[in-house]
Symmetry: none
Subunit: 159 residues, 2 copies
Amino acid sequence: MNRFVSNITLRLDSKGRVSIPASFRTVLGRDGFEGLYCYPALDRPAIDAGGNALMLEIEALIERFTPFSEEREQFALALYGTSETLKVDGEGRVVLSDTLKRHAGITDAVTFVGLGHKFQIWEPGRFHNELAEATQKVRALKVELSSQVAARTASGARE
Amino acid sequence: MNRFVSNITLRLDSKGRVSIPASFRTVLGRDGFEGLYCYPALDRPAIDAGGNALMLEIEALIERFTPFSEEREQFALALYGTSETLKVDGEGRVVLSDTLKRHAGITDAVTFVGLGHKFQIWEPGRFHNELAEATQKVRALKVELSSQVAARTASGARE
DNA sequence: GTCGATTCCATTGACGCCCATAATTTCCCA
DNA sequence: TGGGAAATTATGGGCGTCAATGGAATCGAC
């Protein structure tokens, strides 16, 4: 498997360490990246995390702008400037920086959530709320989609 | 890691010395450059800093203009003319020149901010403001991007 | 000699690295 | 198919090293 999937909740120890779930570790290993690349998610109280794949995505976003341009500098500041590469110890654990923990409201436990090419780290309570909300949205969207398909089919549209 | 990422705030000591964050030092070491190449950022109260990679980028920028053109002379003046190579002591510290400190409004503490191929040095307070602003811009762009994609999908356009 | 600058040690707290243990899970073979 | 052995995972803790910082000592110039 080369995608991050499912969600796992784990506790931080007294030193603030937390194990990266084994299934995520194997994906990261395949990606080939020393450490864990992460940054505060832009529009949610969560941490985005991953390996080379994630970093390249950020790089691509920034390099769309010409060097020394206003936008480029601002994007680099907001993205690279808030990114961190956490060290992973021999047992596959990381310690989250205070900045990251504050952003996500993390205290003594976290939920790892697979999102395909990257994963997120949440405070467990917030994650459950977010999940419930997202599930609602997806249900609604699904209904909408199926009615669209039905309409298109009915009108004889071809794809 | 061969990129400058994350942000670290450190204090100047009584002699005006400040440690370059260890993670940045390793990147500079890999880049292979004695000292720290820096100059006042063109349009911000910050200091641009880096090694060979940064120097090459500036060179490329200037050489895009035709020789002896007005723009070329001005860029060369603004960038080369204001650049300094700071010495790094045995403990990885540098002393910022008064010119640089004045430009960035630095007094007793600085924030190092990774921007990928280079990094910037800010007065901590100003950095926080700038970061908030930049984050807003990135969020806005993200919304814009996703709505573009949504619109394209909804209209049934094929790539 | 005096002032400034640069090089060289000293401290302390955090962090990386190592080993231990318990609870699973996986695997294998009767 | 069941039951146990082996491997893996999550977690706890000890200890040495390094980073950040402060201060002393050395060097140079005037």
